[in-house]
């Protein structure tokens, strides 16, 4: 990459973003050159999104940016014919200058496609608006709008232009956002986690489109993400941020193969779910450097303290308790087979279906089949993974397994006992034998309960001292200080909350643990720690694990057997390694192919 200043497009110098006295971005500087595609990477709280919003000048109220951001536009800051190159100071430009640049020379795609479009305005009108705004003289915009929609592969563009956003899927909406951002051929496209809310297969399509559009328009790209895999699909240079500072930057090939900063190394290791060669445990912020035999800078997060306290029995991550499971796929026709059939399973599911909704009083009801006949077994002590994208029925299945919902038909047996239809008072044993760890570490803990009350909730009729003793024991086991017992959830970080949730799930010493996207909401570095903890505890408690996730990588790491779900059915099931390496069902193959790879050859 040339460093000729003439080719610079964006210069960020000593940028500071503060909220009151808190400095969230602490004096960062970087350049972005014309035609370059730069990934700005960081975990939550790194300041990456704030940096991006500072560039386009749309920081939330109460946030204040200082320093300088210069945009070296080739002109056309005012609508009309191309003019002289200009150097606009984005932080000090007035509203007239900024609004002439935004959506025209500099545009942005946001994270959340579901809310980023005006729900009351037709999609085509929203697209037309951005063109008319900067090219007021354009007459009939309909052909151009259709062309733009077609360019992002929206089917039947003429018709689609007349629908409202709620009639489109998330992926389609994000493509409309992309078309909108590219409509005026911007010099710089900002993309803030544009695919984070999308399923992997959809993500792949949107990323490809984005790369292609940026290429054909000749724009530069500043791509903000937490996902190292995604970044390697679209960028050629990366900037790694942490705690409001840049820790490393450089060409992606160099940074990803020979990272210089220990944080980058650990981030890479955690993203890849790399394991320690000796212990088989996932590499975390602190162990990554041991593994790479090079380190300084002690890690300073609360997470890390918790990690060092937790017991670390060195055991190989996977040791299938019995003969490898049979590898089966859903036949194109005929009935669904029983997947992973075993004798005397911990969990037996047969022909399970669940439909939602019923015909309404005035014929308005809609019937949605969420689960369309699922049969499988989970052997005692097995780690069984269930993978699928949104709407595949995995959450419904989980609710049926745990008797949080009743099936429309079919059978669920836990340790040989049928579950559906039985009244709650006959299920006390189930509530002790089976526990759940939920996805959202914010929502799964009642903000008005103390940690003791939360963890001890499943303990019925235990005395105060019994509860206290057991809670202390569990806090030790999940690596939290005992002083946590009297605190409230808001005093903990995401990873710590998930530890509390795990402690609650283990308080009854269950036989079966169901994990619902248990690490999906966590930063990658924290994710590795929590997965390690889960591994340890599954071992210690001799648990049968049912692990539900959208992330094939994580399931591959944590499970012996994996079932892939699509449209309310299991389409493929078999040993995790086999399914991952040699997927037999076309859907699984697509899923595997869509996983963004950080580095060639990574799992």
């Amino acid at each position: 990459m040339s460093t000729d200043p003439a080719e610079r497009l964006l210069s960020v110098e000593n940028l500071t973003v503060s909220a009151g006295s808190d400095q969230l971005v602490q004096g960062i500087s970087f350049d972005l050159f014309r035609g370059e595609r730069v990934g700005l990477i960081g975990e939550s709280g790194s300041g990456k999104s704030l940096t991006c919003l500072s560039v386009i000048g749309l920081l939330d109220e109460g946030l204040h940016a200082e320093g300088s951001i210069t945009f070296h536009t080739s002109g056309a800051a005012e609508p009309g014919p191309e003019t002289e190159p200009q150097h606009v100071d984005l932080l000090n430009a007035d509203e007239n200058q900024l609004s002439a640049i935004r959506g025209n020379r500099l545009s942005m795609v946001f994270q959340e496609p579901m809310t980023a479009l005006n729900p009351l305005m037709k999609v085509g009108d929203q697209l037309a608006e951005v063109i008319r705004l900067h090219h007021p003289k354009t007459k009939d915009l309909r052909p151009r709008v259709a062309e733009l929609l077609a360019s992002v592969q929206i089917p039947d563009p003429q018709r689609t232009a007349t629908v409202y956003p709620h009639q489109m899927s998330g992926g389609q909406r994000q493509r409309v956002m992309l078309a909108m951002a590219m409509a005026n051929g911007p010099e710089l496209l900002l993309a803030d986690e544009p695919t984070t809310a999308l399923d992997v297969t959809v993500q792949k399509r949107v990323l490809n489109l984005m790369a292609q559009q940026v290429e054909s328009v000749g724009s530069s790209l500043l791509f903000i993400t937490h996902d190292l895999g995604v970044v390697s699909e679209v960028c050629d240079r990366v900037i790694i941020m942490r705690h409001g500072r840049i820790v490393e930057s450089g060409p992606i090939d160099r940074v990803f193969t020979a990272p210089e900063h220990p944080y980058t190394r650990s981030l890479l290791a955690a993203s890849d779910l790399e394991t320690h060669p000796a212990t088989g445990r996932l590499l975390t912020l602190e162990t990554a450097d041991d593994a790479h035999a090079a380190s300084d800078t002690p890690p300073d997060t609360l997470e890390s303290r918790a990690e060092s306290v937790s017991p670390a029995p060195a055991s190989p991550a996977h040791e299938p308790p019995q003969a490898a499971a049979e590898h089966l796929t859903l036949p194109a026709e005929g009935g669904t087979p029983v997947f992973n059939a075993v004798h005397s399973p911990a969990l037996r599911v047969r022909d399970l279906t669940r439909t939602y909704g019923k015909p309404g009083l005035f014929g308005r009801g809609m019937v949605v089949p969420a689960l369309r006949g699922v049969s499988f077994d989970v052997a005692v002590g097995q780690r069984f993974g269930i993978v699928g994208e949104s709407g595949c029925g995995k959450s419904t299945l989980l609710r049926l397994l745990t008797k949080l919902d009743e099936p429309t038909s079919g059978q669920v047996e836990v340790n040989g006992e049928p579950i559906p239809g039985r009244p709650e008072r006959q299920l006390r044993w189930l509530r002790e034998a089976m526990q759940i760890v939920f996805q959202d570490p914010m929502g799964s803990l009642d903000p008005r309960m103390s940690v003791t009350d939360i963890i001890a909730e499943p303990l019925h009729g235990a005395s105060r001292s019994q509860r206290g003793a057991r809670v202390n024991e569990l806090l030790d086991q999940v690596g939290l200080p005992r002083s946590s017992a009297e605190k409230y959830p808001h005093e903990f970080s995401g990873g710590q909350r998930q530890r509390i949730a795990i402690a609650r799930a283990l308080v009854t010493r269950p036989k079966i643990l169901v994990a619902d996207e248990a690490v999906s909401a966590l930063d990658v570095s924290v994710r590795a720690q929590v997965l390690n903890l889960l591994d340890d505890l599954v071992e210690e408690y001799n648990l049968t694990l049912v692990f539900v996730s959208h992330d094939l990588n994580v399931v591959h790491h944590s499970c012996d057997v994996v079932a892939v779900m699509s449209a309310g059915r299991i389409v493929e099931c078999g040993p995790a390694e086999t399914v991952m390496r040699t997927p037999a069902h076309p859907y699984t193959a697509e899923l595997v192919a869509a996983i963004p790879r950080v580095r060639e050859g990574a799992p």
């Binding site: 386009i56 749309l58 109220e61 509203e95 007239n96 609004s99 002439a100 640049i101 935004r102 959506g103 025209n104 545009s107 942005m108 946001f110 959340e112 809310t115 980023a116 479009l117 005006n118 729900p119 009351l120 305005m121 608006e129 951005v130 705004l133 900067h134 409202y164 709620h166 009639q167 956002m177 909108m180 951002a181 005035f362 014929g363 308005r364």
Partner: protein, 314 residues
């Protein structure tokens, strides 16, 4: 869309029926024997029985209910206990007056609420925004009849510009407007303050939405983004609240009519209460309840026009 409207109409009809049963229970059964009440404890049983037959209250309850409700909808609301004359013409005349007053009040309320609410939201972190909020906060805290009294004190008593009370029919033209002005203003000021607060909240909420940031990222200036994308979205909750406000306005009119001595449903109701004229009360209460339900229906029908998400997929 049409199906949805029909469904709403069905629910409306059903609700009216149930509400009418409640009204019948409240005023037809709960008060006890109207004949005995009218004639007093000293009257002989024969006389009372005769009056019962005359009033038609000697028959079974379902019969009385059906007779009342069919009569109500066919314009025969019964004979007033107090004046011994048919209730319907009085109620209908009063209804017309009240509707005009309420419409005037709504007009004033909207004229006040929208600008005040939007300004208070847009400038919420500046002194003038806070001032607007404070004005609306004070507005809500004043009973509407007090507002009426103060308006009379200023514009009728002190300045002598407008009449302090009474009513003129719409045919009277300017005189009608002169009589409408103060009561509509009194009604609209207070309810406008409430509506303004909802408007402010709705606009503030919308300004935090992601699509408003998208609008800015497109190159729209803050004002233009609010005009083109924000206001229509803010309108959805405001319209919903308007139906509740409509109920408040009608009930507010009851009091305002008394303040300004206007021959509407409210003053008629208060007079009927003073006379314990239950037939009259029953009809008026039913009218008010139907008006409130109609307002809800109207809003339910209008909302899908503003918000495509509320339309049927078909």
């Amino acid at each position: 869309m049409l199906l949805n409207a029909l469904r709403r109409l069905g629910i409306f009809a059903l609700t009216v029926v149930v509400a009418s049963v409640v009204v019948f229970f409240l005023l037809g059964i709960l008060p006890g024997d109207p004949a005995r009440a009218q004639l007093g404890l000293q009257a002989s049983e024969e006389d009372v029985q005769a009056l019962r037959e005359q009033l038609g209250v000697d028959r079974a309850l379902p019969v009385r209910y059906l007779e009342w409700i069919t009569g109500f909808f066919t314009g025969d609301m019964g004979i007033s206990y107090a004046s011994r004359s048919p209730v319907a013409p009085q109620v209908l005349d009063a209804l017309q007056v009240t509707l005009l007053l309420v419409l005037g009040g709504i007009g004033v309320a909207i004229l006040i609420a929208l600008p005040l609410g939007i300004l208070a939201a847009v400038r919420h972190h500046r002194p003038d925004g806070t001032l607007f909020s404070t004005i609306s906060q004070l507005g809500i805290s004043i009973p509407n009849f007090l507002a009426g009294l103060l308006l009379i004190a200023v514009f009728a008593v002190t300045l002598g510009w407008l009449p302090s009370g009474g009513w003129a029919p719409p045919e009277a033209g300017v005189d009608f407007l002169r009589h409408l002005a103060l009561p509509a203003l009194a009604l609209g000021l207070v309810n406008g303050a409430i509506l303004a607060r909802y408007t402010r909240a709705a606009v503030l909420e919308v300004m935090r939405e992601d699509f408003m940031r998208t609008a800015r990222a497109k190159g729209l200036k803050p004002g233009a983004a609010l005009m083109r994308h924000g206001l229509r979205n803010a309108l959805v909750p405001v319209v919903t609240v308007t139906s509740i406000e409509f109920a408040n306005l009608i009930i507010g009119a009851v009091v305002i009519e008394t303040v300004f001595v206007i021959p509407g449903l409210g003053s008629t109701l208060i007079r009927a209460v003073a006379n314990r004229d239950l037939v009259m009360i029953q009809s008026i209460v039913m009218c008010v309840v139907i008006l409130v339900l109609l307002a809800n229906l109207l809003v339910d029908l209008v909302r899908p026009l503003i918000d495509p998400r509320l339309r049927n997929a078909s």
